[in-house]
Structures are given as structure tokens and as C-alpha cells.
Symmetry: C2
Subunit: 507 residues, 2 copies
């Protein structure tokens, strides 16, 4: 195995990056049409990236040289992909696509059968508990919250009932106590989600709630089999997630299934899975492979054009929490400094992923994107139709038309720029960006969009030859916070321990 920077295609791309196309000069109708990839339900419009035919061909060579497609196949078919060679590590399969394999007769790994059984358990639970609960408290943090919450927000147009849903995540007591004031625990279903069953935020919040109301019927858990939270003495029901599904990739597992199905009906959740499955298949295609294209454009921007960050701007209010979820997916997966061969990297994988919905973002940080000195790569997401399909004509156009007009104007002007003798009104242009366009934000399209980003991130890890599926970087802080909590418990004056300085500041 060879390192990223020693690849032939890497070297060729380095040469090509010395003279990337100048978008202030080259935008044409022909170029617009040449740089579209369309594979239902998503279409990528990427004439506004700083690429040309040579660069694009060489980027796909990079994918070939790193066996990116083969690795995607290996991942989806259940080979061990979560490893770093030669050192103590998780050494596990990466099975989030198995939760979507239930639609594929020819496949059906044991993981997908396991998941399908959980879905049957969930159907039974929903039938038995119809109309029993007025409120859901979804307790989880990180991978157990960001995805489900973003999807809940994105699909709220499909809400089937009046069940109020609250997400509690933070150990900050204000998070829990501000919500406890609003609800009646007797009619609340408390869903505790922790893969390990030991996440301190989740277990603590659950324990506090139990001090107010401890009726087993109201509590369910979502965890790995045999964890501390797999306990029918305390929970009405325990739903399972397999250890081979990473938290940040678990939205399509039971981690998302329970709260989303209770809110939208299980059919909406299954449509969401079908959409994800569709993209899983697209990710295996040798042509029109949308997530692979997106991964390569990202690598071009990060490693060859030296953008330090990626802004994701969905022109959709419903997707306002989606960038938060993708932030974890991308940054926890590829925020690494060693290769899968356990050597320190000599290049930067990933970067900051951040963003906010448009048009709001235009009124916040777009000044920086247009005229700032740090260049951001930008991915826009947009839909032709609104979700509610309710609109009005004001000043001769609908709001949806105004929304899209704004998006297109931004994509174009960031690339094209605008020369002005007044330097304060001058726009350099050449801000690389593209648009991911779909017809409408339905459950299926959202599933496709989620899987699109999951696979983009996985492809990037494959190409960089890093392990995208562990997160050892979160362990040190956990260990030290336990140490501080021990000091608090013991109340000893440990003046020889640097951490004791902080303790003095707490009072």
C-alpha cells in the first residue's frame, strides 16, 4: 500500500493544480451542460468548480489507483474496514448499509436480517402502544441525536400525529430541567439511545428522570445487545443496534427508526430507507456515481486548491439542522492524522464542515465567502418544489422562485466574480462551488441525500487511505473528565495536579 502523496495521479493532479481553470473567464452554456451528473433522485451541477476534462479524468484515475470502488463494495458486503494496520484498534465491519439491504432480495447479510427483525419488533410495539403516549423524550447525544433530530426536522411536514417530540442531549442540567417543566412524564415515552449503554450524558439524564417518575412501561432503550442498557427489568422494550454500525452512520438503524417511526409512521421511515438504499447502489456504479464525484471534487478543493473548509448551504428551511449532522459525519470520520498503515499523514484530510440554510446564510457570512481572504469550498443543496407546495405570488414571482433565483445567483457570482474599480465593490470570483439539485424533499429523497453524504465521506477516507470509522480522539477528554469528577467526589486538595487549578475556579 502506498501513501496518498506518492500516488501517480496525486503527482499529476499537483501539476494540474498549478493552472486550474479561471472561472471568471470560462463559464459558458457548453460548460454548464458538460458538468452535470444526473442520477435520480439527485443531480449535481458543477460547472462552477475549478476543474476541466483533464482534471476530472485524473481525479477518476485517483479513485482507480486507490481502489475506491472496490473498497465501497467491500464495505457494503461486510468486510472488515474499520481498522488501522498493525495496531490495537476496533477491527470491525462497517454495516450501516445493511439497514437498507432489507429491500434487496439478492443480498441480505445477517446484519440486515437482524435489523429487519428489529423493525418487526418496532411495528409490534407501535401497534400495541397506539395513542398511549402524548410526548416522546429522545435522550441521546452525538450520533444518537444529530441524525435523528436533523431528519425529524427535515420531515416534519410528514408528521402523522400530535405526539410532541423533545430531544435531550446535553449534560447541562438546564437542558433537562427546562424540558421537564413542559411535559407530563406519565404520558411520555422516554427513549434512551446509547450504543455503548454507558454514555454519561444519556445515562445521567435518564437516571434523573427516573427520580421523578420510574414506571418501566414508559422507558425503552436502543443499544447494543448485552450492554448495561439491554435490561428488560428496567425497560419496557430494548431495541438493538449492532456494534458494526458507527454512531454517526446510525440514523437508518434503530437509533433513528424508533423516534421517526413513532412520529411519521413506519411507512415514511421505510421510504426514507428505500431512498438510502437507492444511493447505496449508485455508490457502487462505475459511471454516474454521484458520491464518488462529490468525494473527488472535495479532494481537489482540499488537497490541490488548499481550501481549508467546506460550507454546506441547503436552500431549504427543513434542512436547517442537516449541516450539523454532516459536520459530525465528516469531521469525526476524516479528522484524523494517521493513515490506515499507521503512519503520520503528510497532508490534510477533511477540513471544517460548517453551514446554515439559505437564504439566511446570505445575510450572515456570505460577505466572507465573496470577499474574504480564506477561500471556502461550497456545496449548495436545493429542491425544485417546496415541501408544503403552498406558496403565493408577490411582485410577480413565488417565494420558491425567489429562493431558487437567490441560490443560482450565489453559485454563479461566487464563481464568476465581478471586476470593479472601487476595490470595495470588487469580487475576485473563483470560489469553487456546486449545486446538488433534487425535485422535492420527500422521505426517499432525504434518504438518498443522507446516503450520498455518508458515501462521499467514506470514499474520501478510502482515497486518503485513512480509517474513517473509529474516533480515538474523543477518549482522552473522557478519561480526564472522569479524573476531575473523582477529585470532586474525594474533596481532597490535590495541589500537585494541574487539573486542581480548574476545580478552584468552579466555586
Amino acid at each position: 500500500m502506498i501513501d496518498f502523496c506518492n500516488l501517480n495521479s496525486y503527482k499529476k493532479l499537483k501539476d494540474l493544480s498549478l493552472s486550474p481553470p479561471d472561472l471568471t473567464k470560462c463559464l459558458s452554456n457548453e460548460r454548464f451542460n458538460d458538468y452535470i451528473m444526473d442520477n435520480d433522485p439527485l443531480k449535481i451541477l458543477f460547472s462552477t468548480e475549478r476543474i476541466n476534462k483533464n482534471i476530472l479524468a485524473e481525479l477518476f484515475n485517483l479513485a482507480n489507483e486507490t481502489h475506491a470502488l472496490k473498497k465501497m463494495e467491500n464495505m457494503q458486503s461486510g468486510q472488515v474496514m474499520n481498522f488501522v494496520k498493525g495496531i490495537d484498534c476496533e477491527n470491525n465491519k462497517v454495516m450501516h448499509t445493511a439497514t437498507r439491504d432489507v429491500f434487496d432480495e439478492q443480498r441480505g447479510t445477517k446484519e440486515s436480517k437482524f435489523f429487519y427483525n428489529e423493525i418487526l419488533k418496532l411495528k409490534k410495539f407501535i401497534n400495541e402502544n397506539n395513542n398511549k403516549f402524548k410526548t416522546i423524550l429522545h435522550i441521546g447525544i452525538g450520533g444518537s441525536e444529530l441524525g435523528p433530530k436533523a431528519i425529524y426536522k427535515a420531515l416534519s411536514r410528514y408528521k402523522k400525529n400530535k405526539i410532541k417530540v423533545y430531544f435531550i442531549s446535553n449534560i447541562d442540567p438546564d437542558n433537562l430541567f427546562s424540558i421537564l417543566k413542559k411535559i407530563d412524564l406519565k404520558t411520555t415515552l422516554i427513549i434512551s439511545v446509547s450504543k455503548s449503554g454507558t454514555t454519561i450524558e444519556t445515562t445521567t439524564n435518564e437516571k434523573i428522570i427516573r427520580k421523578f417518575y420510574n414506571n418501566k412501561e414508559n422507558y425503552i432503550s436502543i443499544t447494543t445487545p448485552n450492554s448495561q442498557m439491554d435490561d428488560l427489568a428496567r425497560y419496557n422494550k430494548c431495541f438493538y443496534i449492532l456494534d458494526s454500525i458507527g454512531g454517526r452512520f446510525s440514523s437508518t438503524s434503530m437509533v433513528g427508526a424508533v423516534t421517526l417511526s413513532l412520529s411519521f409512521g413506519i411507512d415514511v421511515f421505510m421510504d426514507f430507507l428505500k431512498g438510502a438504499h437507492k444511493m447505496d447502489k449508485i455508490a457502487l456504479q462505475t459511471s454516474n456515481n454521484l458520491p464518488l464525484l462529490s468525494a473527488l471534487l472535495g479532494i481537489w478543493n482540499i488537497n490541490f486548491l488548499n481550501t481549508s473548509n467546506l460550507a454546506i448551504i441547503p436552500y431549504s428551511e427543513s434542512l436547517s439542522l442537516f449541516p450539523n449532522h454532516l459536520q459530525q459525519c465528516a469531521m469525526e470520520s476524516n479528522g484524523k492524522s494517521i493513515s490506515q498503515n499507521a503512519s503520520f499523514l503528510n497532508f490534510k484530510p477533511s477540513g471544517i464542515l460548517w453551514g446554515t440554510q439559505g437564504t439566511n446564510a446570505q445575510h450572515s457570512f456570505f460577505q466572507f465567502l465573496h470577499q474574504g481572504m480564506e477561500i471556502s469550498a461550497i456545496e449548495f443543496i436545493a429542491f425544485k418544489k417546496s415541501q408544503y407546495e403552498e406558496d403565493m405570488i408577490v411582485d410577480d414571482t413565488t417565494s420558491q422562485e425567489k429562493l431558487l433565483a437567490n441560490l443560482f445567483a450565489q453559485s454563479f457570482s461566487l464563481a464568476k466574480g465581478h471586476k470593479n474599480e472601487n476595490k470595495n465593490k470588487n469580487f475576485e470570483g473563483n470560489r469553487p462551488n456546486h449545486i446538488i439539485l433534487a425535485n422535492q424533499l420527500t422521505p426517499a429523497t432525504l434518504g438518498s441525500l443522507l446516503a450520498f453524504y455518508e458515501h462521499k465521506i467514506a470514499f474520501q477516507g478510502f482515497i486518503w487511505h485513512i480509517n474513517s470509522f473509529d474516533q480515538e480522539g474523543v477518549q482522552l477528554g473522557k478519561k480526564l473528565s472522569t479524573e476531575i469528577l473523582q477529585m470532586i467526589k474525594k474533596k481532597e486538595k490535590m495541589t500537585d495536579n494541574y487539573l486542581y487549578n480548574y476545580l478552584k475556579e468552579m466555586n
Copy 2:
């Protein structure tokens, strides 16, 4: 006037940046205590920044050499600060501190008197309309929404009544129509906020609402005198903001005052202003000047240690929207590429500002902060006491103790790192960060914290010698979106216009 990179102190700092202190080796109790700045209500713990006494002294020399304090005085006393020399520009005062001058007998600019009169109008309006409205729709975008919404969330513990508050900002029709389903317009106060009176998102959303219910009594506007929205034929009341207050600095003006006072009572809003005023005065001090210190630490990290971004992590659920507001404040203010002398910059001011509340962020992107290859500067915000002061002991500690233990563990471990032969468990450390600590998130403390960041951003602009108070970079996109909307209206086939390609994609 000389350019930033030609300053004596810049050159000395460049030399000093060749050997910044190694935090993996130098943390000691003495260092902890040496790098604290305490000025009620905020305390900065910054032993975990890569500075030493020499660097700090030279950073303050940089402030002196650029007359940063004098410029702060000039700004607060009403001199024209919003300008770029020699070119067509806004050429205006920067008067957001005037909204807080009402507490200072010795000052009292004409702008503060103007604002005080608006507050009296608001008091009268609140008395006359007591219990009349069940719902508030705050319509505004960018500076007219991010601040008020973040403050509304931050102070929700102080809610005085049952009025439901919704914020509508996006032109996306799903934003408006999803909310219209939930409310009764007859008992709703619609507050339209636009400084210019012409913001397309705000005026369009208001026009659509009026098609459903057009009773003047239910509409008020917040705008500059004589704008299109200053119209008592259409609004029950018009409240004014002066043109010399920038949108992103307008939270303490009528832009924030109306919705916040209707929700929390005018006394809470005045406490919030008092807190801001306290920080305005601290920003003028020659010693213990908290925002100046913070500005200088930021400049050290950006311009000398080459961090591309700043993560703001409040360990407070109530501050979960605060980073979004600061994102606009910082990036729209200092995301510029020309100096105040109208020359192109040869250094990067500002960078991405992003962040999420802790502990949540630990479970999302902290992997990247600890082990990623792109170094982020990090500012933590924390409070000794929770807001609700309700808590429980679980496993011998309270949730508030767990929250702070996590914060301290993160700050320390990011700086200190941890050597491990297993490269996957190795932490390089030297991630620069500091903690802003206060007693409790009260209205006054929030005011101080907001003004702290406003002044930090202003100080950075003063030192970089850029104009932090305009936003010409948002104009090009606006112009082009209008052009696209014209094409939509006319329905002509304009195949010679590149923008027409996008139009074809809309259908």
C-alpha cells in the same frame, strides 16, 4: 497610516512566532495563575494559549501601535468609523453602544436620547397591549434575526408570560407555511424587522401573511425613519433604529428590544443593556480590558500561528444559538480583502467562526479538534451555576459538576496532548484555547458577553486596519438574483445569458 504587516510589532511577533511555547511541556500552577484576566462579570483563563510574557507584551504593543484603544473611544463617542479612505462608501458613525449609553448620565449622545425615546414608546405600547396577543411572529433575517433569536433562547428561563414566539426569516415558503398552520393570526402580533425596509425575505413574508389577515392593529415595524416600512397607514406602531447601527450589532437596539421585552418584560431587557454597557466601559480601560485581550489572542492565533478558524463552544445549552450570531458578527465584519486605505490585503483577517454547545460538540467534531491536521483556535464559554439552579446528584456528582469537569478536561487535554506509542491514541496537543468563565447566565451577564464579542471583533478590525462596519460583499448576489427574477417574470428565452441555464433547471 501603515499596513498591518509593516508594523514594528508585527515583525517582532513574526519572530516570536518561530518558537511559541510548547503547551505539552509548560503547563504549571504558576502559569495557570499568571494567565487569568478577571473583570466582573467575565474572567478569561488563558494559560492554554501558546503565549508567554514576551508575546503578550508585544501583542499589547501591537494594540498601541495601531491606536486600538483610541479607535474604540472614537467609535463609542460617535466619530465616523465606517469608511474606506478615498472611495465611495457608507461613511457613517458606528453607534450600537449608544443604545447602552442611556445608563450613563455623563454621556448621552443624541443617538442614545433617540433610543431612549423609542424605549418609552415601547413601554407605552406594552402597557396598552397587555394580554392582547397570544403569539409573536418576529419576521427578520440576518442581523434582524440571529441576535434576537439567540438572546431569546439564552434567556428563556426568564420568560414572564405564555406568549409563543416564532421567528420567520427564510424566503423558503416552507418556513412561513409550516408556521402559519400552527397559529391564529387574529391573536398574533406580527413584528417586521428590516433596517432598510426593503429586505426581500421580510417584505415578502409580511405581504403573504397580510393576504390571510390584514388588520393594521396586529402589525408593527422596526426600521429606519422614512423607510418604506415607516408607514403608520399599515402598521399599528413603527419603532426606529438609526442607520448608524449595523444590523449585526443591532441586538441591543429596537431590533432586539421589542420581541425580547414582550417576552421577558422590559426590566429584563434593561438588565441586558446594563450588562452590555458595563462591557462597553471595560473596552475603554487601559488595563484588564477583556475584549482587547481576546482580540489580541485571536490575532496571534490567526496571523502568527496560522489557524484558519475559530470554534466557539459554550458549555451551556441556553447559548446553543449564540455561535450562529457571533458567526455573522465576526465574519461579516472582518471577512474583507481591502484595508481602510483601500489597498488589497496581504494577510488573512478573520477566518471561519463556527461552533456548537458542549458537551454536545465533544460527541460531534472534537475528534477533529484533538487529532485532525487542521488546527482550530477554540474559545470555551462556561458558567459556574446553572440557570435554573435545579440539579441532582447521580454517581456522587451533579450534572453541573459533570458539565464543568468535561469542559476543563477538554481545555487541558487539547493543550497538553498525550504521547502514546499507539499512533491512533496519540494526541499532539498544542491546540490553542481559552475559557471565558462567568458566574451565571443572567440577562446582565449575557449583555456583557455579547458586548465582549462585539468589541473583540471591532478591536480586531481596528488593529488590522480594515472597515469592520460595511458589507459590500452581499450586493452582487442580490443584484444577480433580481436579474434572474426579471427573466422569470418576462418568460423570454435568453439563451445568450449564462444565468438562463439555471432557469431551465428550475422546471
